[in-house]
């Protein structure tokens, strides 16, 4: 790790320490006994320590560490998505292909730097392969619906998530060997936006912004969170190849995409009648609950950077 990465992680560590102290103080002030909001806040903060630690370990191993990390993220996200998606017995070949072929091949293509194929593998080849596999079962019940759902899950959980480690493959003049920081910047800005929207919403939130999709999201939380996260993204321009205003604009784009990603994934959850995608991250829900904003922000960020900087 270089000095920039170390100072970035030191900064995140200091922030988490502050959050932990505030969380303990709130708990202490609220007294003994359960307090759902504060207990959930503390569970979230504790989970953040673990998540930052895992990301940190991946960064120590460099490019391949990050690829393995996001392979895992994709696997857990795909598993949560397919678990909530009703499929039939004859979808087995398509689901097996999703878990055992599409997922590993996508990450192997990224590891081998093959942009021409990893950018179209799932949207073109797998898109055509899945309905072929599904049709072999001879079961026409809700056929289009079933194949679309498997394809959609792959796009979100594998294709979109994999554009994060794909940032490693970009050759940005004057930024050689520092692409890990681009990943750190993206994850930090998008996740900080989620956190700040939550904090601003809890402190100032009054008007619901999408009562049907996500009752906890408020207009005050949205504006405050996105504004603050965009400011942080701009102030962190020293770890990126962007100028201050470029970083601000890109941060605004990824934060907006992240917000809408949260809405879309929330609509799916509500339709399936659940509150969370899963239970693997204490206080947060499942992997997809934590990654929903990244899923929507990362592909756009990747292609913007590739088009204008690489």
């Amino acid at each position: 790790m270089d000095d920039n990465t170390l100072s970035l992680f030191a900064g995140i560590g200091a922030l988490l320490l502050l959050a932990s102290v505030i969380g303990r103080l709130l708990k202490w002030r609220a007294g003994a006994g359960p307090h759902p909001v504060i207990d959930n806040l503390n569970a979230r903060i504790n989970a953040w320590w673990v998540m930052v630690l895992v990301i940190g370990i991946a960064f120590v191993f460099g490019k391949y560490g990050v690829i393995v990390l996001f392979y895992g993220v994709s696997f857990y996200a795909l598993r949560e998505f397919m678990t909530l998606t009703p499929t039939r017995r004859s979808d087995y070949p398509a689901l097996a292909a999703a878990f055992y072929i599409a997922l590993p091949v996508q990450y192997v293509l990224i590891a081998s730097d093959w942009y021409g194929l990893f950018s179209i593998f799932i949207p073109v080849y797998v898109f055509l392969l899945l309905p072929i596999l599904a049709s072999l079962g001879g079961d026409t019940t809700r056929f289009l619906e079933r194949t679309s759902k498997v394809q959609w899950g792959l796009m979100i959980a594998v294709y979109c998530v994999s554009t994060v480690p794909a940032l490693m493959t970009l050759d940005i003049p004057g930024y050689e060997g520092r692409n890990l920081l681009l990943i750190a910047w993206l994850i930090l800005v998008v996740q900080l936006s989620d956190v700040l929207q939550y904090v601003c919403g809890k402190l100032l939130g009054k008007r619901k912004v999408a009562p049907n999709l996500s009752p906890s999201k408020t207009l005050e939380g949205l504006l405050g969170g996105v504004a603050l996260a965009t400011l942080v993204g701009a102030l962190l321009c020293w770890i990126t190849p962007f100028s201050f205003w470029q970083a601000a604009l890109l941060a605004l784009v990824v934060n907006a995409m992240g917000f809408f990603g949260g809405l879309v994934m929330s609509a799916i959850k509500r339709d399936r009648g659940v509150k969370d995608w899963g239970h693997m991250i204490e206080g947060h829900g499942g992997m997809l609950d934590r990654m929903d904003s990244v899923c929507f922000a990362a592909p756009v960020f990747f292609h913007f950077v590739r088009y204008w900087w690489a």
Partner: protein, 207 residues
């Protein structure tokens, strides 16, 4: 020793692949004599249910399995007898001298908890739950003090569909419902229907 090791690897693998989550909705995992009855759609059902019980309970809980499938000499028989300590019943038996349920009644009489699939066979159709065979009624009538705990196993039929060797890594949930007993004087059809509904209400709603 070998049996313990095999048990450990089988339950770990089952939990790893399915991320099995036990939801104790209607009762808590207490060490009282119980008969867990569940929906049956995969050979892995009893393994997953067994694996999701706390250690202390698992040691006293035995699955009830069909002798016709499991009593093939070799690995299969070692697993079912030594690892799971199953109660084997002969589903095909035609002689009426003693009931095919006798080994199960004996196990209950000596205080064991059991895992039982009242549908009698694997459900491979689109119906969520088949009609119950009368076995559950006879067990409940013979041992009215035992808690009958409905357990809905969700998703395992998707993890291991019939005839597929490679399991899919989907998440499974086991919902433990409220214990029930046979009411005094309750008829066989009434009891079986009540027990079936108690299990069915634990199933996740299909959209």
């Amino acid at each position: 020793m070998l049996a313990d090791l095999t048990a450990f690897s089988i339950t770990s693998a089952a939990r790893l692949i399915t991320g099995a989550r036990a939801l104790w909705l209607g009762c808590t995992p207490q060490p009282v004599q119980r008969l867990y009855y569940a929906n049956h759609s995969s050979h892995g059902d009893f393994v997953l249910l067994w694996a999701s019980l706390p250690d202390a309970l698992r040691k006293r809980t035995r699955p009830v399995a069909g002798a016709d499938y499991w009593c093939k000499p070799g690995l299969r028989e070692f697993i079912i007898r030594k690892v799971f300590n199953a109660v084997l019943i002969d589903r095909q038996r035609s002689d009426t001298l003693d009931s095919p349920l006798q080994p199960v009644l004996d196990a209950l009489a000596q205080g064991d908890s059991l895992i039982f699939f009242p549908e009698g066979t694997r459900n491979l159709g689109d119906e969520p739950l088949l009609p119950f065979k009368s076995g559950l009624f006879h067990l409940a009538a013979a041992h009215p003090q035992i808690e009958l705990v409905p357990v809905w196993i969700a998703n395992l039929n998707r993890v291991m569909p019939k005839g597929r060797a490679l399991p899919l890594p989907l998440l499974c949930t086991l919902s433990f419902g409220e214990p029930l007993h046979r009411l005094p004087g309750e008829s066989k059809p009434d009891f079986l229907e009540r027990a079936r509904l108690a299990l069915l209400t634990l199933a996740p709603k299909e959209a």
